[in-house]
């Protein structure tokens, strides 16, 4: 994991005291509310429906056990004892008091954490694949580059007042787990025809009101060009992005309205000016950042751990969990474990202070003291010995955290929705729960197989509904909460945006509608065919017919 040096630590301390001063001036009345607004947003603080909400960054999803314990402390002392993992590798606290926020930030700084640029019209927390560094299909670990981007974007003086928010994702694996193509900038580590590893850089992707898949701006650049290409794209966007209408202010609209070729040529002309400048990345810096993400001291283990085999035969519940939530590791004898935070009855992504401490203990005991958070709002133990898997599962079971539903229909991605968020048109958490209750039989879920259900409470799309195999969007219909369903979305390599099936539904209709959609899929699928493939083969019509069929 990256370790702060004196520079990092000092800048963070200076940031905390800067914000303390700003908060004091606001509270004493010498800083106007509208002028305090972007300052507090860039320190992670929203004002929500019920209370302020503080969004803390988990850079590219990595957390140490020490940081987990600090988050537990904050949840307990400044919140109501819980936090919420978001879809962007952040954790949100929903009940802090404004005047205490500088104290929370000071607490976070003690463990090299912060809430910098987690909100506001600036470059946000850089996200990546939750399996970075342990995935067998990885070209190169994306985290050193995420850290390089984190430092470049942190307090970037030129890009703090962009037309709109700006999100960057990096992907180094063959299977894209980071929804890279629906980010303002998506960075793929790729190998070119000459065998050199560098980057492919996309821009103009995004969800929200106008969902768009990113377009390739640089097909291949050498690693040294990472920061200059990003800077060139950002400069064109900062100068030319629309500022007259916040719904048209994201870079995706600029790329669309300018035209891809014209946009590219503007970026190229900026890039020409800076590509050989001092911000060109050095090998030394790449090596320095890589040195923080070396392999932990793995043991030399053999494959086919006999104790695991025995446990799998003996305990079918464990075997079912193992089949869904345990993934292949690059190192023989190790596995990657996804801890599902989608237990029915709990808001997706919610964790209590006690659970955070439990995860810290688990990480210390079984996974070199580290965990990761995924954009699917789950928690990952990246380096578990296969001989420990059964113990890990029993431990999880004793805390009711053993849901074996990773990637299944009940592993729902869900924003906080109308229960908490001031922007939402409709609630989303109760929808997730009603679906989880409808599909409560594990065998049935396993039979249905991989199927992503994503729920957003409004068209800002924090729940990524456009890229869910089944997407659910809360809409306001004359003051009542309704839900629009879309089908066929995906955030993986074959990224696609869902298509709206038809008129929206009332809240209580949703579980049955989902059941009908699943029925059509189950009947139409050929052996082992994924939902997306069936959908693409048979089209939306059969789903429509079934869902809107009049009862006899």
């Amino acid at each position: 994991m990256y370790k702060y040096d004196n520079y990092d630590q000092q800048m963070l301390a200076e940031r905390v005291s800067q914000f303390r001063g700003q908060t004091d001036r606001f509270l004493e009345g010498s800083l106007a509310e509208s002028e305090f607004l972007p300052l507090r947003l860039q320190n992670g603080l929203y004002v929500q429906r019920l209370a302020p909400m503080l969004r803390v960054a988990i850079p590219y999803g990595m957390l140490s056990s020490r940081q987990l314990r600090k988050l537990a402390y904050i949840a307990r002392h400044f919140d109501k004892g819980y936090g919420h993992f978001s879809t962007r590798q952040n954790i949100q606290f929903n009940w802090p008091h404004l005047k205490e926020v500088p104290d929370i930030l000071a607490q976070l700084a003690e463990v090299e954490m912060h809430a910098i640029q987690t909100s506001g019209n600036c470059i946000r927390n850089t996200t990546t694949d939750q399996f970075a560094g342990v995935a067998p299909d990885e070209l190169e670990d994306s985290r050193p580059y995420c850290e390089i981007i984190r430092q470049w974007s942190t307090f970037h003086p030129e890009f703090a007042y962009l037309p709109r928010k700006f999100k960057i994702a990096v992907c180094g694996t063959a299977i894209d787990q980071a929804a890279t193509q629906v980010h303002d900038i998506g960075v793929y580590l790729i190998r070119n025809d000459n065998g050199v590893i560098g980057f492919r850089i996309l821009a103009g992707g995004g969800l929200g009101r106008t969902p768009i898949i990113g377009k390739v701006i640089f097909d291949f650049v050498e690693k040294k060009h990472l920061l200059t290409t990003l800077e060139a794209i950002l400069r064109v966007y900062n100068r030319e992005g629309r500022r007259d209408n916040k719904y048209k202010a994201r870079i995706k609209i600029l790329v669309k309205e300018t035209g891809l070729e014209e946009f590219k040529s503007k970026v190229m002309s900026e890039w020409e000016k800076i590509k050989d400048s001092v911000i060109e990345l050095t090998n030394e810096e790449i090596h320095r950042c890589k040195s923080f993400f070396t392999d932990p001291p793995y043991a030399e283990l053999s494959e086919n751990e006999p104790s695991l085999k025995k446990a799998l035969q003996k305990d079918l519940l464990f075997a079912a969990w193992n089949a869904r939530n345990v993934h292949q590791h690059k190192k023989t004898g190790y596995s990657v474990v996804t801890v599902s935070l989608k237990e029915t009855g709990v808001a997706p992504g919610d964790v209590s202070d006690k659970q955070l401490e439990f995860f810290a203990d688990l990480a210390d005991q079984y996974s070199f003291g580290e965990v990761r958070i995924s954009h699917q709002q789950n928690l990952i133990l990246a380096d578990v010995k296969q001989q420990d898997l059964y113990d890990v599962w029993k431990s999880l079971k004793s805390h009711a955290l053993h849901a074996g539903n990773r990637g299944l229909l009940t592993d729902i991605i869900c924003c906080p929705g109308g229960d908490f968020c001031a922007l939402a048109n409709a609630k989303s958490i109760p929808i997730a729960e009603s679906i989880q209750r409808k599909f409560d039989a594990p065998e049935e879920l396993t039979k249905i197989g991989d199927l992503s259900v994503n729920i957003s409470g409004c068209m800002n799309a924090c729940g990524h509904h456009h890229v869910g195999n089944i997407g659910i969007l809360g809409v306001d219909k004359k003051g009542a909460e309704f839900y629009q369903i879309s089908l066929g979305g995906s955030s993986k390599n074959e990224a696609s945006l869902g298509k709206i099936i038809g008129p929206s539904f009332a809240q209580d209709e949703i579980p049955d509608v989902i059941a009908k959609i699943v029925d059509v899929y189950q009947q139409a699928k050929s052996k082992n065919e994924k939902f997306l493939d069936t959908y693409q083969r048979i089209g939306i019509e059969p789903f429509k017919e079934k869902v809107y069929a009049k009862a006899d």
């Binding site: 800067q18 002028e35 890009f159 050095t282 320095r288």
Partner: protein
């Protein structure tokens, strides 16, 4: 004499900001000042400006293109960059462009909705003079330069980014 911040200290302001000038006739009404005139006036009414008894410099609004200044940029002692509203981020890129692309060495002055809490980033982008909004306490604006002792990025004061200095 009105005050401004120049090179991180309080200084007297010898310039008058001509906010609107659609017609060069206005120059006759205010003779003998040192004027910061709109880019447009400077581009299209050169002759009237040449006759003006006093120094002339220009200001550029956030939506205007810096390239319009043209070849005579280095004759200008000062270029004002206007913030119509403090949250408009375009002047930051303009200042970088003036310093990095055009090698402009004169004064770059932040004018308009200039507030204490943005001055530190402005300074890193190449602004060296600040004319804070009328209601700002100019003395406390000086505190902005103490907010951070270093930055990750290259700036006018520190032309080498942190990663090359570690």
């Amino acid at each position: 004499m009105p005050k401004l911040i120049k090179d991180k200290a309080l200084a007297n302001d010898y310039w008058t900001w001509l906010k609107e000038a659609t017609d060069p006739a206005i120059l006759k009404i205010i003779p003998g000042k040192n004027l910061i005139v709109p880019l447009k006036l400077w581009r299209f009414d050169q002759e009237e400006l040449l006759d003006y008894p006093g120094d002339i410099s220009i200001w550029v609004n956030s939506h205007e293109n810096i390239e319009y200044i043209g070849n005579r940029i280095h004759e200008l002692p000062l270029i004002g960059l206007n913030f119509p509203v403090f949250s408009d981020g375009r002047p930051y890129s303009k200042a970088r462009q003036l310093r990095d692309d055009f090698g402009y060495k004169g004064e770059i002055r932040a004018i308009g909705d200039v507030l204490r809490d943005q001055i530190s980033y402005m300074s890193l982008c190449g602004f060296d003079a600040f004319s804070p909004r009328y209601d700002q306490d100019i003395e406390s604006c000086l505190g902005a330069f103490q907010d951070f002792t270093t930055a990750y990025q290259a700036s006018v004061d520190q032309p080498t980014p942190l990663f090359r200095r570690r």
